[in-house]
Amino acid sequence: MKVKIVEWHGFSTWHWNLVSDNNGSSSEYIDELCGICRVAFDGTCPNCRYPGDECPIVLGAGCSHNFHLHCIIKWLEQNTSKGLCPMCRQVFTYKETNAVGSEEMVNLQNLIMGHKSLRDSGRDAGQMIESMSEDGDLQMTT
């Protein structure tokens, strides 16, 4: 007897790849919450209605902390954030993904750059604590 599959309608779920070297085929799934809004990454930030495309996440490059894009932008928009990761207080940088060009990513990039330049000028004024944390950050990234 031959079995011919004419049509297979399957179901699957999508997940954000939170561990970078996990290329998605694994069924292991890490159910993590955004450190800012405490909602799962596969869910939405408080301001969004639809998860996924409309509410992407950002993976921290400097540290291992990830956030909803909207959450981290909101954080970085505050001057008091000084461009640091809200969890570990290192300078926040993010991993580049293929999802380039979106307005919000540009916004994020600008925010990070703005903070960086602020920090740079701050170091010129001799703010030692800032520069120390910057140094620490540099050590960790290099």
């Binding site: 007897m1 031959k2 079995v3 011919k4 599959i5 004419v6 049509e7 297979w8 309608h9 399957g10 179901f11 699957s12 779920t13 999508w14 997940h15 954000w16 790849n17 996990n22 290329n23 998605g24 085929s25 069924s27 799934y29 799962a40 596969d42 869910g43 209605r49 639809y50 998860p51 996924g52 495309d53 992407p56 996440i57 993976l59 993904t97 293929n98 999802a99």
Partner: protein
């Protein structure tokens, strides 16, 4: 001191009551005249009545027309005597007083005897007529002053009243009532055989009766009887013509009846009434009003059944509304009347009607009783519904339907919704206690089957479009120029919309919408999972309707679910264009797993994550890669247990069968692809990583479909020959038989494997004829012995008995026992006779 009991004799003794008879004993110059006069006037009472104790027995009218028998024309001498005796006023008054006293004695005597005997009304009537005309006759010759005439008439009337009405033994009123009843109503209603002439005769005689009665000032009593009778007739008419009749408009019929049948008769008496100069039509209104009240009382008794019968009873409900809302416009004589006990129902009052003024009292009462009737209606309905439906024995759907009917019906009766608000409360309280209420409501709202009992709910939901337009002009109370205060009898927390809108009313039983939302999400989730063509239009439409009711922002989960399915379609199309070779037969819905709680939670880690056929897995891996490219940073996780699979099975004899099955069954059968050996359930379970239960379920499905054969309890082989007559393949020759999806939904695994497998005829059955002949020759054999003998008998082409394991063989024998072909006793098998 001794007390003397007060009696008539004693009073007579103290206060003497002189009569005309006493006059004759006086000696004076006018003695002679008095003698003449008294002689003429004697015996102060119609002699024809006193001569025989029961004077008139026949109803013949001869005596009525000829009262002259009793009357003697006065001679000239008598006339002269009258003139001389009654010259001045004081004499007249004295004379009349004495005359009255003499009459009184006669009257009392006569009626005492009369009241002891049974009389019909016509007898009474004749007597009254004779007596009356007798005295009138004498009076006209007495030439007395108007004052004396008046004194005399009043006395006469009071004598009539005393003897006919006030006397307990008198049957006058009863007989009058019977007579009027018979002559006015029964003739009309009985038959038309009574010619109109007799009819009009009767009416004339009723006219005459009224005239006579009014001449002796009994017209009020007569009217009272008329009123009583009319009300009786109205009641009778309503009980007989209106009870249980809910699908016709009856008010007009009732009005016609009153106008044509009751009112003309009612008027006869009124014409002679002293109040006759009032606009007579007001009594017509009053009668109609009484009829309406009567109808309302009837409907109050029937209210529960009326509501159950909705919409076939909408006419009755509408008329109830009319009765409640009609304001009679003749309130100009609306006297201030105190209602000491408004608890008296109007029916009690009807019996108390004594004259026309109390008649208007009754009407006034009933006007004000509208609010009383409304309360009564509510109370009665609540009482009945407690008895009939609001108990644990009732079906939830029935309660909901009753509730819906109640809403609709009471909105007809009272469009303001106040009554509805009151009756709805107990039902709502009760519904809250029903555990399945939410499920039923949600199911009802999504119902599409017209035959369903709760289809009304879903129809109601679809109606919202119209409602929405109204809601658009929904202005704040403070700004609304058309704002009206809540009706006066509304309860403090009355909200019209809460009860008048059926769905809103059901939803608002519960304080929070959440419970409904989650139920909807669950139900829609199940529906969405079953959609295989990504067409969500229907569900979206439903959802939009629901959003109008529950609010736009309540269905976040469902919005995401629908979006998932829509996007899946798109993604599938995009990815398919990238992988061309294998994508034809595979597509997947991609779910946002946090928003499909009811679906995802049902998937258990161990049971549902089985391995799908290799090629499908490969395709999925490719698909997943493409997806990760397309949506960077994201990956897919496959849910093997969800979905549906279309299969084509091609057998060795070139027969092709199509199936539409769940993925687990597809995975199982895929293992038999090109497989000629039998496979064990354990092997399948291991290979696929599937639970044994799921495996056996799937296998028994395929066995049932005739695709597999169960070789032993755990071994299965492809039924490649697929003999239609061999197997219980119910689908006959129709190779393309589309087998309905069975057990496709998650968790709905049927547990009927065992009985199904015992129905299956094991392949060993081929040995049956041999076993039969063996046992026919040797009555009893053990299983080993049978097997040994079979090895000798059965040709190897038919079956290789040598390879047969004793256990399997015993199983087969047990099966035969089960089938009732063999009998097992003490380890030996024998044929069952």
């Amino acid at each position: 001191m001794t007390s003397i009991p007060l009696s008539k004799d004693i009073i007579d003794w103290i206060i003497p009551c002189p009569t005309l008879g006493d006059l004759s004993s006086n000696s004076s110059d006018i003695d002679n005249d008095i003698g003449y006069l008294l002689n003429w006037m004697q015996p102060y009472f119609p002699p024809s009545l006193t001569s025989n104790t029961i004077p008139v027995t026949s109803t013949s009218t001869s005596t009525i027309t000829k009262p002259n028998n009793d009357i003697i024309e006065p001679s000239q001498r008598v006339k002269a005597a009258i003139r001389s005796c009654l010259k001045d006023d004081s004499n007249q008054i004295e004379f009349i007083r004495l005359y009255n006293n003499s009459i009184t004695i006669q009257f009392n005597q006569f009626f005492n005897e009369l009241n002891n005997s049974t009389m019909n009304f016509l007898d009474y009537f004749q007597i009254i007529k004779i007596i009356h005309s007798y005295y009138i006759f004498y009076l006209q010759y007495l030439n007395i002053s108007p004052l004396c005439k008046d004194i005399f008439t009043r006395n006469l009337n009071s004598l009539f009243y005393e003897n006919l009405i006030n006397n307990n033994q008198s049957q006058f009123l009863n007989s009058l009532m019977n007579y009027l009843d018979n002559s006015l109503y029964n003739l009309n209603s009985n038959s038309n055989s009574n010619s109109s002439t007799t009819n009009s005769n009767r009416i004339i005689s009723v006219n005459e009766i009224m005239h006579t009665l009014s001449s002796i000032n009994l017209i009020n009593e007569a009217n009272h009887i008329m009123i009583k009778l009319s009300i009786q007739k109205i009641k009778w008419f309503i009980t007989n013509h209106c009870s249980k009749v809910w699908n016709r408009y009856l008010l007009e019929v009732i009005n016609q009846y009153i106008q044509n049948k009751i009112y003309p008769n009612f008027l006869i008496g009124l014409k002679y009434s002293s109040e006759g100069n009032i606009d007579l039509n007001i009594y017509l209104y009053d009668l109609i009003k009484i009829a309406h009240d009567e109808l309302v009382s009837l409907r109050i008794k029937e209210i529960y059944d009326i509501i159950l019968n909705y919409p076939h009873s909408s006419q009755a409900l509408y008329e109830l509304y009319q009765c409640f809302s009609i304001k009679f416009n003749h309130n100009n004589y609306n006297q201030q009347i105190n209602f000491e006990d408004s608890n008296n129902s109007s029916t009690n009052l009807i019996n108390d009607v004594s004259n026309l003024s109390s008649f208007s009292y009754l009407v006034n009462f009933s006007l004000k009783s509208q609010s009383y009737q409304r309360t009564k209606l509510v109370d009665n309905f609540i009482k009945l519904s407690h008895e009939k439906i609001l108990h644990s024995g009732a079906n939830t759907i029935d309660v909901i339907i009753t509730y819906i009917n109640t809403i609709k019906s009471f909105l007809i009766i009272d469009p303001k919704g106040v009554l509805l608000d009151k009756v709805a409360r107990p039902i709502r309280t009760y519904l809250k206690t029903r555990e399945d209420i939410i499920i039923k409501i949600v199911e009802g709202l999504l119902e599409e089957d017209d035959k369903s009992e709760l289809i009304e709910l879903s129809q109601e939901l679809r109606k919202i479009d119209n409602l929405e337009k109204q809601q658009q002009i929904n202005i704040d109370d403070g700004l609304d120029l058309n704002w009206l205060p809540d009706p006066i009898d509304a309860l403090p927390d009355f909200k019209k919309a809460k009860v008048t809108d059926i769905i809103e009313s059901l939803i608002s039983i519960f304080d929070s919408n959440e419970i409904f939302i989650s139920q909807f999400t669950k139900l829609f989730g199940e529906k969405l999972i079953k959609i295989h063509n990504y067409d969500v239009k229907n569900i979206e439409q439903h959802l939009n309707l629901l959003k109008l009711k529950f609010g736009n922002n309540e269905f976040t989960s469902l919005d995401i679910m629908i979006k998932d399915i829509k996007e899946s379609k798109l993604i599938n199309e995009i990815i398919k264009s990238n992988i061309n070779n294998v994508s034809e037969n595979f597509h997947t819905s991609i779910l946002s797993h946090l928003y499909w709680p009811t679906i995802i939670e049902n998937i258990s880690e161990d049971g549902d994550l089985f391995k799908v056929p290799n090629n499908i897995e490969e395709i999925f891996t490719q698909f997943s890669k493409q997806f990760s490219n397309y949506k960077s940073g994201r990956s897919l996780k496959f849910l093997p247990s969800l979905g549906s699979v279309k299969l084509q099975l091609e057998f060795n004899n070139n027969k092709i069968k199509s199936f539409n099955v769940s993925p687990d069954k597809a995975s199982i059968i895929s293992l038999f692809n090109d497989q000629h050996e039998e496979l064990s359930a354990e092997y399948i379970s291991e290979t696929l990583g599937m639970t044994p239960y799921m495996v056996s379920d799937g296998l028994s499905f395929w066995v049932k479909e005739g695709v597999l054969l169960q070789v032993t309890k755990s071994l299965y082989i492809v039924n490649d020959d697929n003999d239609d007559n061999n197997n219980n393949n119910n689908y006959g020759d129709n190779e393309e038989a589309e087998v309905s999806i069975e057990g496709l939904e998650i968790g709905s695994v049927t547990s009927d494997i065992e009985p199904k497998s015992s129905l299956t005829i094991p392949p060993l059955n081929i040995l049956w004829p041999n076993i039969q002949t063996l046992l026919e020759n040797i009555t009893m054999l053990s299983s080993e012995k049978i097997l040994t003998l079979l090895k000798l008998r059965v040709p190897i082409e038919l079956y290789d008995v040598r390879s047969l394991i004793i256990n399997d063989f015993e199983e087969y024998l047990d099966w035969l026992v089960e089938q009732g072909k063999l009998e097992l006793s003490g380890g030996f098998y024998k044929l069952k006779n």
